[in-house]
């Protein structure tokens, strides 16, 4: 069985990611409503090892992973790969160097 943690935690994190993903009216977005409806529907169960519950939780955790890592990947892409050519100062800065300053320009 996959180590998933508490379903409530996954749900909260997933809703948070959807808030980032959707536009302004995020509470009305189809994804938000669908996720909430799915969790509510599976709440009413007395079995401890309800297979459907585990399946839903796994799906939610997977979707959470997708949204989160896609967002992180896009941020990294923007940061490191999306800005065209860098100046020599920026390139030096990437590996922790600073360009030397020589009075009167380079020899």
């Amino acid at each position: 069985m996959a180590a998933l943690g508490a379903p409530l935690r996954t749900l909260r994190a997933l809703l948070r990611e959807l808030r980032h993903a959707a536009g302004r009216p995020y509470r009305d977005s189809p994804a938000y409503r669908h996720v909430l409806a799915a969790f509510r529907a599976h709440r009413v169960t007395s079995e401890k090892l309800c297979r459907a519950q585990h399946e839903l939780h796994f799906q939610a955790a997977t979707y959470l992973c997708l949204l989160r890592s896609a967002r992180q990947h896009a941020a990294l892409h923007r940061e490191y790969h999306g800005r065209g050519e860098r100046s020599p100062e920026e390139v030096a800065g990437l590996v922790g160097f600073r360009l030397p300053q020589q009075p009167g320009g380079k020899g």
Binding site: G23, A31, H34, T62, C65, S69, L76, Y80, G84
Partner: protein, 280 residues
């Protein structure tokens, strides 16, 4: 590639604000790198058609790169695809829209493979499965592989009643024909869409066993990706992490694997909610 074809297919009726060159002379225009396109639609919605669920960008229906109507069999999948489109801000970043890409692949089948070929390609990976391919040097890595990968191999052998084993030989493990047959007939129980997803996950993780672990919900995506990248993680621990390479690759692999896994599950279940007998 898909991104560019998709752009060519969508009808060219640019709303007033969308017309712009990639590099504007004035500072107010954001730089849109090649391969991206400005968001040209306001609203994304879903509708149900004859063939399944469709995506609407304003009044236009989304189409595949080969100009077929974009229809998906699962409402949840359609909602997730719509969310991908709706979450694009100024520019459409196709390289982040993994579910859309998977649906396009399933609808267009660009590699023209049938079910048998897909299954064969998937099972062939077992011969070079990452978690069966072991090193002897350095001892720390060999130990790590044994501790982290052996349980997964054992799980697969038990779950599917097969022999797989592992090997330090350059030829890889010797997989018995009966093992391959078992996996072939197991994969045959999935429909074509789900199989596209399964084959995608296998090529991302470079492992059939890890992929089955995901499909069977035995491990999470994060764990599967970690196990797939075990040697990389070992080297990172030793030599340090480089964010713009390591984290970049990690996030991309996680996103793609998560998309593939979700895609498989959404395409192979019925979306009706099963009510308990207590409720009327």
């Amino acid at each position: 590639l898909w991104a560019r074809s998709l752009l060519a297919r969508l009808p060219r009726t640019p709303p007033a604000a969308a017309r712009s060159g990639p590099v504007g002379p004035c500072g107010s225009r954001a730089y849109a790198p090649p391969g991206e396109r400005k968001r040209f639609y306001q609203n994304v919605s879903i509708s149900q058609g004859e063939g399944g669920f469709e995506i609407n960008l304003d009044h236009r229906k989304l189409k595949t790169p080969q100009a077929k109507l974009f229809t998906v069999p699962s409402e949840a999948l359609a909602i997730a695809v719509a969310t991908e489109w709706d979450s694009q801000k100024d520019t459409i970043k196709f390289y982040t829209m993994h579910l859309t890409t998977l649906c396009n692949t399933a609808l267009d089948n660009p590699t023209q493979r049938n079910k048998t070929q897909l299954i064969r390609a998937a099972v062939k990976f077992l011969e070079t499965d990452t978690i069966c391919y072991r090193v002897e040097e350095p001892p720390a890595l060999a130990e790590l592989q044994k501790n982290e990968w052996d349980p997964l191999v054992a799980w697969a052998e038990k779950r599917y009643d097969v022999t797989i084993g592992s090997s330090t030989s350059i030829l890889g493990p010797n997989i018995p024909a009966s093992t391959k047959e078992t996996f072939i007939s197991h994969l045959a129980s999935y429909n074509m869409w789900a199989l596209q997803g399964i084959e995608f996950v296998i090529t991302q993780l470079k492992s059939l066993i890890l992929s089955m672990g995901l499909i069977d919900r035995h491990i999470t995506v994060e764990k599967a990706v970690l196990l797939s990248r075990l040697e990389e993680e070992y080297q990172i621990q030793r030599w340090g992490n480089v964010e713009w390479a390591h984290d970049y690759d990690l996030c991309e692999l996680r996103a793609r694997t998560a998309a593939g896994t979700l895609f498989v599950h959404l395409c192979s279940e019925s979306s009706t909610v099963k009510h308990k007998l207590l409720q009327d």
